[in-house]
Amino acid sequence: MVRVTGNFVKESPLHPKAQAALAAAFDAGWADPKKLSQVANRANRMRAEAIESLAQLLSLRIDEIEVLGEPLLGHYLSIAGFATGASTNIFYGATSRSEIIATARSFTPHEIAVGLKGDIQISPSTQSGIFALQIANGETGVIAPSQQIVDAYPNALIACDATTTPNISLLPNRWDSALFDSQSWAGPAGIAILGIRNSKLWKNPFPHIGIKRVPQSYSLPLLLSSVVALEAWRNESELRQLNQSLRARIAKEVHDCDIAGDLDKSLPSIASFSFLYCHGEELVRALALRGFDVDSGSACTSDDLAPSHVLAAMGVLTHGNIRITLHDGSTQDDIDALATAIIESVAQLRAQR
């Protein structure tokens, strides 16, 4: 496993097997699988094997699988493919990805509030439309009560956003589309898997000529590499203990700190801390100087100078926010060093004010 010391941002290097597969795939899989030549034939076989493997690992049927080369488009596709018009109701939690919120607004949006722990405030509804169901939040790790939500909306189609984890045990027993992202299993960026379970109601929402359900212009070598990464991916439950020790130490040794969401209802690998009397950007820089790379949800660290809508929707402090992602292979020593760096950096920054 390639480990980058001090890497606690969301992204991680490719698994060495996935990296090797990428090189081999460019050698052998550059051809268009749909054509008739020998190299095309070989590419077609490689693709078929990859799709079979995906079907097994994600518990999908082969005919349900579509591969996307522009993952963020999947958020629009997974919903719009079922939307019958601008008046279609789209239900979504306030901590959904901004691409989901934007898609909902292009139809008839129904935003559902979340509580301080990121828990979605669900009450039963007989309304029809589409529920854009976020399986687990990418900033806080908080896992939604998917089955409860699905049961509360019996007349709505379910479009799952499963882009933050390949752990299919978190999916509800009923869904109509499900979007997975290669980066959630340390695969290469640029590949997403869209599962279309309800193909009867599905209609390709992009202007198109022909029968394709989605534009099929992904990179085959990237797909092959992504599947190898998924095959090598280990359920990261052992990270939960490390995460717990990090949260416990920060909670104990730093005052005026908000931790976003409870670990027992979250993915094991994510922790988000907001510190009063601290700037997110300064904290990220201070940690970088000590050799630790982290993400942040604070306004000062974002492109549009807007604070994380996820944290704001929960009522969690957005100032002084850092977000940690634990990667496969992280050790207790790594976590201890990270915790010390955070504690010291926050103290130093606060003392300077």
């Binding site: 005026d256 009063l276 944290l311 969690v316 957005t318």
Partner: protein, 47 residues
Amino acid sequence: MSELVPGESIELLSDDPATLSDLLAWGRMTNNFVEAQGPETFHITKK
């Protein structure tokens, strides 16, 4: 805030879009009461 007695308020003016959300969070974390009086005006009352 340390100069206020419980029940006293101060008024905060801010056009920073993160103000309401973060001020409410701060109020929760430090046990003070925050109320928006308009888009850029906030009253903070020491509990």
